[in-house]
C-alpha cells in the first residue's frame, strides 16, 4: 500500500504532537504515568502504521480483509479495550469513594460525640 509522502509526514507530526502533549501532561501532574503508557503505545502504533504501512497490509493478509476494514477493526478493538479499562477504573473508584464517604461520616459522628460527651 502506498501512502503519499506528505501524508506520512502529517502522521509523523501527529505522533510527535501526541507524545509532546502526553509528556507535558505528566510533567504538570495531570496524567498518571500508568495511563501515559497506554497513550504512548497508541502514539507508537500510529507512528508504525504511518512510516511502515505494509505492516497493516500484513495484518490484512493474515485476517484476509481489505486494509481499510483492518484499520477500522484494529482501531475499534483498541477503543473498545480502552473504554472497558476506563469502566473498570470508574467502578473501582466508585467503590472506594463510597467506602471513604461512609468512613468519613462515621468519623465525623465519633468526633461530634467526643465534643459533647454528655450528649448520648
Amino acid at each position: 500500500m502506498e501512502i503519499a509522502l506528505h501524508l506520512r509526514v502529517l502522521i509523523g507530526l501527529l505522533c510527535f504532537a501526541l507524545v509532546g502533549i502526553i509528556i507535558e501532561l505528566i510533567r504538570q501532574n495531570r496524567l498518571k504515568e500508568h495511563y501515559a503508557i497506554i497513550w504512548l503505545c497508541t502514539a507508537l502504533s500510529i507512528f508504525i502504521f504511518g512510516i511502515w504501512p505494509d505492516s497493516l497490509n500484513l495484518i490484512s493478509r493474515i485476517v484476509r480483509l481489505h486494509h481499510l476494514t483492518t484499520l477500522f477493526l484494529v482501531s475499534f478493538i483498541f477503543l473498545l479495550a480502552i473504554v472497558l479499562h476506563f469502566t473498570l477504573v470508574i467502578s473501582q473508584l466508585f467503590d472506594r469513594n463510597r467506602r471513604l464517604t461512609q468512613e468519613v461520616a462515621w468519623l465525623r459522628f465519633e468526633m461530634e460525640q467526643l465534643r459533647q460527651p454528655d450528649n448520648d
Binding site: T101, W106, R108, F109
Partner: protein
Amino acid sequence: MDTISSKKTLIIIPAYNEEGSVARVVKNIRRDVPDADILVVNDGSRDRTARQARQGGAMVMNLPYNMGIGSAVQSGFLFAKEKGYHSAVQVDGDGQHPSSEIPRLLEALDNGVDMAIGSRFVQPTGYRPAFTRSLGIKVFSFLVSLLVGKKVYDTTSGFRATSRRGVLLLTETYPHDYPEVEALITLHRNGMRFVEIPVEMNSRQAGKSSIGAKNAVYYMLKVTLAIFVAIIKRRQR
C-alpha cells in the same frame, strides 16, 4: 469496640428528606423497643431531617451527599460493626414499617437465622400494590425462590433484622441502589439463612416512594441483572 452496646440492637433508619415523618418513626421505636439504640442515617437531606431525628431522640450520622438507600443502610451496618452491636434492624424513615413488629423480627434472629424479613405477602394483608409493581414483586419472588430453594414471598421489603454475622458480610458487599433483593442472594451464597415474618405495613405518613414510574424499568432490569450477577460472583472471605 464499645462494650456497653455489645449486647445491643441498632435500629438503622435511612432517611432522605423525611422531616415530616422521621421524628414520629423514632419516637415509635423508642416506645416499642426501648433497649435499642437508634441511628438515623441522614442521606444528604436538604430539609430538616437531621434536626427532627435528633429531637425525636435518635443518634444522627450525616452523609455528606445523597448516596442512595443502599449506601445509607450500609453506613449503618458499618456503624453497627464498629460499635459491636449484636444485631441491626433497618426501618424506613417514612413510617411504613410498624415498629411494634421489631421485637418479633429480633426473636427470629435468636433462633439462629441471620436475617428476618418483615414480609407483606406471607399472609394476605391489607397491602395492595399497583399492577406493575405487583408484577415486579412476583418476578423477583420467583427468581429468588428458585435460587434459594425455598419460597420467598417478599424480596423487596426493606424492613429487616440482621444478625452480627450478616452485618459483617453486608458491610463488605451491599448494592448502592435497590439493594434488598440482591442482599438476600448475597446472604444465601455465603451460607446464611433468612426467614420471613408476616407483618402488616402502614401506608406512608409523608414523602414519596423512592421508586417512581420513571425508574421502574431501570429498577426491574437492574435487580434482575443483579440477581444473576450475584449467582456468579465469588464468595466473600
